[in-house]
C-alpha cells in the first residue's frame, strides 16, 4: 500500500491507529479517580507528543542513517517557531502559510549550517553544530531582539498588521490560530460514564502532519537515497573509493532533518503562538538526542516512542509530589511509609531529570538499540525461536 512493503504498511497503520485513538488510549483512568493524574489525554500534552515525535523522526534521519551526531538541532526548531509567529503577525492567523514558511526558513538555515559543519566529521561535527546552535541562541537573546523580542519571546499582538486577516477580532481580542477557519484550540469533550475524552482540533492537525512525516521517513529509509546514507554510516572511506561523493547525500539528509525540525517548530507555534530563545538552547538539542536514543536510533518507530516517553515523564512524573507518594504508601506503617517516600522522593517531582539521566545512562550502556531493541529482545525470549534476523541497527557514527 502506498508503495510500502507489507511490514511497513502494518507499522504505518499501527501508528495511524495509535495517533487517531490517542485521546482514548491516553485516558485510561476515570476523570475523578485518584489515578486521573496519570491521564495524558489532554490536548496540550498530546500535541507535544506528536510535535516532538516529528522532531525526533527528523533527527533520526540524520543521526540514525548517517551517524552524524548533531548537537544543535534545536536551533532549527527555534527558527521554525520564530518564522511561524512572524507569519501570524504579518499575514494572517492561518497556520498553513506559517508552517510552510517555517519549513522553508529552517531548510535554508540548515543548508547554510550543514554546508559548513559537514566539512568535518565525528566529534568535530558535533561541536560545530553545537557552536552554531549556541551562536543562534546568543544572537536571538541579544542583537536580534527586533526580530525575536529577546528574553520576553515573540508574541502576537493586537496592533500587528495581519494583511490577510484581522488585527483584532470584533470583541477586541487577539484572533486565534486556525486552519481555514477551524480554530486550533477548538475541542469537543465526550463523556462516557466516568471518563471524559477530549478531542482537540489542534491535536488532530498535528497528528495528521506527524503521520505524513512518518510516512515520508519510511519512504526515505527504504529508498536508494536511504541506502546511500547507511553506506556513509558504515564506511565513508569505502564509499569514496567507489567513486561516490558522500557530501551531497549527507547535506541532503541534514537539510531534510532540519526541515523536520522547522516543521515541528512551526506546529509548536501554531498551537501556542509564541516563540522564545530557550527553545534553541543546547539543552533542548540534547533533549531530542535523548528521545532518539531512548526510543531506538536508526529504527522507524523508536524516535516517536522516545519522544512520547520523555514528554510523558516530563509532564506526569514531575507532578508526583510527597502527598501523592504518601497516599500510595498509606497502607504501610508510618515509619516504613516515610522511609519509602523519602527514598522515592528524589526521583520524582522536581527531580524527575535524575530518573531521566539514569534511565538514559542505562540505555546507552546496556541497550544501545533503545526501547525498540528491548522490545525485540523480550519478543525473542518469548518466542524461544532461533531466527537469524539481524539485531536492530547499531549506533556507529561516521568517522
Amino acid at each position: 500500500m502506498l508503495g510500502l512493503g507489507k511490514k511497513d504498511t502494518s507499522l504505518l497503520l499501527v501508528v495511524v491507529a495509535l495517533t487517531m485513538l490517542a485521546p482514548f488510549i491516553l485516558n485510561p483512568f476515570p476523570s475523578d479517580s485518584a489515578m486521573a493524574q496519570f491521564n495524558a489525554g489532554y490536548p496540550d500534552l498530546m500535541q507535544r507528543f506528536v510535535i516532538f515525535g516529528i522532531f525526533a523522526i527528523g533527527f533520526n534521519i540524520l543521526f540514525g542513517l548517517t551517524g552524524y551526531l548533531s548537537f544543535g538541532h534545536a536551533a532549527f526548531l527555534g527558527v521554525g517557531s520564530y518564522s511561524a509567529v512572524w507569519m501570524f503577525k504579518l499575514l494572517s492567523m492561518n497556520i498553513l502559510p506559517a508552517i510552510i514558511l517555517s519549513v522553508i526558513i529552517a531548510g535554508l538555515f540548515s543548508l547554510i549550517i550543514g554546508w559548513v559543519s559537514l566539512r568535518r566529521t565525528g566529534i568535530y561535527f558535533s561541536i560545530l553544530t553545537l557552536a552554531f546552535a549556541q551562536m543562534s541562541f546568543a544572537l536571538a537573546y541579544s542583537v536580534l531582539t527586533p526580530l525575536t523580542n529577546g528574553e520576553t519571546g515573540l508574541q502576537v499582538n493586537l496592533d500587528d498588521p495581519r494583511v490577510l486577516g484581522v488585527s483584532a477580532t470584533a470583541d477586541g481580542s487577539i484572533p486565534v490560530t486556525n486552519l481555514f477557519g477551524l480554530e486550533m484550540r477548538a475541542a469537543y469533550d465526550m463523556a462516557v460514564g466516568p471518563w471524559t475524552f477530549t478531542f482537540s482540533a489542534g491535536y488532530y492537525v498535528c497528528a495528521l502532519v506527524m503521520i505524513a512525516a512518518f510516512y515520508l521517513s519510511i519512504r526515505i529509509f527504504r529508498s536508494p537515497f536511504g541506502m546511500m546514507l547507511r553506506a556513509i554510516k558504515s564506511n565513508q572511506t569505502r564509499m569514496n573509493y567507489t567513486g561516490l561523493n558522500p557530501k551531497p547525500y549527507t547535506l541532503a539528509a541534514f537539510v531534510i532533518s532540519g526541515m523536520y525540525a522547522g516543521l515541528a517548530g512551526g506546529l509548536m507555534a501554531s498551537m501556542d503562538p509564541l516563540a522564545g530563545a530557550e527553545r534553541m538552547q543546547w539543552t533542548a538539542s540534547g533533549e531530542v538526542v535523548l528521545m532518539t536514543i531512548l526510543g531506538g536510533v536508526g529504527t522507524l518507530i523508536g524516535p516517536v516512542l522516545g519522544a512520547g516517553l520523555i514528554k510523558y515523564f516530563e509532564n506526569i512524573f514531575s507532578k508526583i509530589n510527597d502527598t501523592v507518594l504518601h497516599s500510595w504508601f498509606a497502607f504501610l506503617p508510618d515509619g516504613i511509609e516515610d522511609f519509602f517516600v523519602s527514598i522515592i522522593h528524589p526521583f520524582v517531582g522536581k527531580g524527575w531529570h535524575l530518573t531521566l539521566g539514569l534511565m538514559f545512562m542505562l540505555v546507552v550502556t546496556f541497550l544501545p538499540g533503545g526501547l525498540v531493541e528491548g522490545g525485540q529482545r523480550i519478543a525473542k525470549a518469548f518466542r524461544k525461536k532461533e531466527d537469524d534476523k539481524p539485531k536492530s541497527p547499531s549506533t556507529e557514527p561516521a568517522e
Binding site: A131, M135, V143, L354, F360, T395, E396
Partner: protein, 335 residues
C-alpha cells in the same frame, strides 16, 4: 591604555577558568581518548566542595545567653561554631573566613577519588565504543550529577565568599582598580597549570604518561601497565576541574548548572587549541577569554553589535574550517 589593560585583566580570570577546564578535558582526551561531557559537572562538584566545607565549618551548637534577650523578650540563643570552641574564637573565625582556600585542600582528594570512581566504574567500559556513545553516556552522567547536587543543595546559587583580606579591590596602577580575588584566581590557575606540566615533564611517571599519549601500544609492549597510569591521569584531570570550580566560587556563586554553562565553551576551547594538545588548550583558553573581554568593549559592540556573545563560537568555526587541527593540534589525532 588603561581600558586596554583592564580588558586584558578581565579576560584573564575567565580565561583561567577556560584554560583549567580545557586542560582537564584534553588530559582525558589525550590519554584515554574519551570525550568527556561530564567534565563541566566535575567543575561544578568542585565548587560545591567549598559549599560543603563552608557548611561543615559553620556547624555550631546553641547556647543560651541569659544576659541578653531577643526582640520577643526570651533569652537570646547564641550560636557558636564548633571550630571556634575548639581553636579559640579568633582562630576559629579565621578558619571559617578562609573556607574557600581551605576547600582547595579538601577538594583535591575528593575530586581525585571521584575521578577514579568515574573512570573505573563507567568510562572504562566505553573505550572500545564509538565516540558518539562516549558523548552520550557522559552527557547522561552530567545530568545525573547535576540533579544529585540539585537534590542536595537546592536550585539557588549559594554564596561562597572569599576571605575578607582578599575580597577587596586592588589599585594596580593609576586608574586600574581590580578585584583582588580575580588576581588570586589567575595566579592560582597559573600555579595549577604549571604543576600539571611539571608533573608530566619532570617525573618518570609523567614521562611514561607522555609516552603513552604518543603511542599507547608500544608503551604497553614494553611491559608498562599504562591503563593504571591513565586512570590516575583521569583523577588528576578531575582534580584540576574541581580546583577550578572551588576557586571560582567567590567570582560566581555556585549553582547546579554552572558546569553545563562552562562545558560548551570549554569544548570550543579544546577544539580551538587542538584536540590532544595540552599547551594548545591552555593557550586557547586564555586567548579566547581575552578575546571575549575585548569584544565586549563598548567601542567594539558599537561597530558590531552582539559580537561579544558570539565571538568565541565564531572563532571556533573559522579555526575548524581553515585549520582543522586547531592552533597546536598534533598530526594524526582525531582526523
Amino acid at each position: 591604555m588603561d581600558v586596554f589593560l583592564t580588558q586584558i585583566l578581565n579576560g584573564l580570570d575567565k580565561g583561567s577558568a577556560y584554560a583549567l577546564i580545557a586542560l582537564g578535558l584534553t588530559l582525558i582526551f589525550g590519554t584515554l581518548g574519551v570525550v568527556n561531557f561530564a567534565h563541566g559537572a566535575l567543575f561544578m562538584i568542585g565548587a560545591f566542595c567549598s559549599v560543603f566545607l563552608q557548611r561543615l565549618l559553620n556547624m555550631s551548637y546553641e547556647t543560651i545567653d541569659p544576659t541578653k534577650t531577643d526582640f520577643l523578650g526570651n533569652p537570646a540563643v547564641v550560636k557558636t561554631p564548633y571550630v571556634e570552641s575548639w581553636f579559640g574564637p579568633e582562630t576559629g573565625a579565621a578558619i571559617i573566613d578562609w573556607s574557600v582556600p581551605l576547600a582547595v585542600l579538601f577538594a583535591i582528594p575528593v575530586m581525585i577519588a571521584i575521578g577514579f570512581i568515574m573512570e573505573r566504574g563507567l568510562i572504562k567500559h566505553f573505550y572500545k565504543r564509538e565516540h558518539a556513545d562516549q558523548i552520550l553516556v557522559t552527557f547522561g552522567l552530567a545530568i545525573v550529577l547535576q540533579e544529585v547536587i540539585k537534590a542536595l543543595y537546592g536550585a539557588n546559587p549559594i554564596q561562597t565568599p572569599a576571605p575578607d583580606s582578599l575580597s577587596g579591590v586592588a589599585v594596580l596602577a593609576e586608574g586600574i582598580v581590580y578585584p583582588v580575588w580575580r588576581i588570586v584566581y589567575f595566579f592560582f590557575s597559573v600555579v595549577v597549570i604549571g604543576a600539571v606540566f611539571a608533573f608530566l615533564q619532570f617525573t618518570t611517571f609523567g614521562m611514561v604518561v607522555r609516552a603513552g599519549m604518543a603511542d599507547r601500544e608500544t608503551v604497553g609492549l614494553l611491559g608498562i601497565d599504562i591503563d593504571k597510569r591513565f586512570t590516575l591521569m583521569f583523577g588528576i584531570a578531575a582534580g584540576v576541574a574541581g580546583l577550578a570550580g572551588v576557586m571560582y566560587g567567590p567570582i560566581n556563586a555556585p549553582n547546579y548548572h554552572m558546569g553545563m554553562d562552562f562545558l560548551v565553551l570549554s569544548f570550543v576551547v579544546v577544539v580551538v587549541g587542538g584536540m590532544g594538545s595540552l599547551p594548545g588548550a591552555v593557550a586557547a583558553g586564555f586567548l579566547l577569554g581575552i578575546l571575549e573581554s575585548f569584544a565586549s568593549m563598548t567601542v567594539v559592540t558599537e561597530i558590531i553589535p552582539g559580537i561579544n556573545q558570539i565571538i568565541i563560537y565564531l572563532v571556533a568555526i573559522i579555526i575548524l574550517l581553515v585549520r582543522p587541527r586547531g592552533l597546536m593540534g598534533r598530526k594524526g589525532v582525531m582526523e
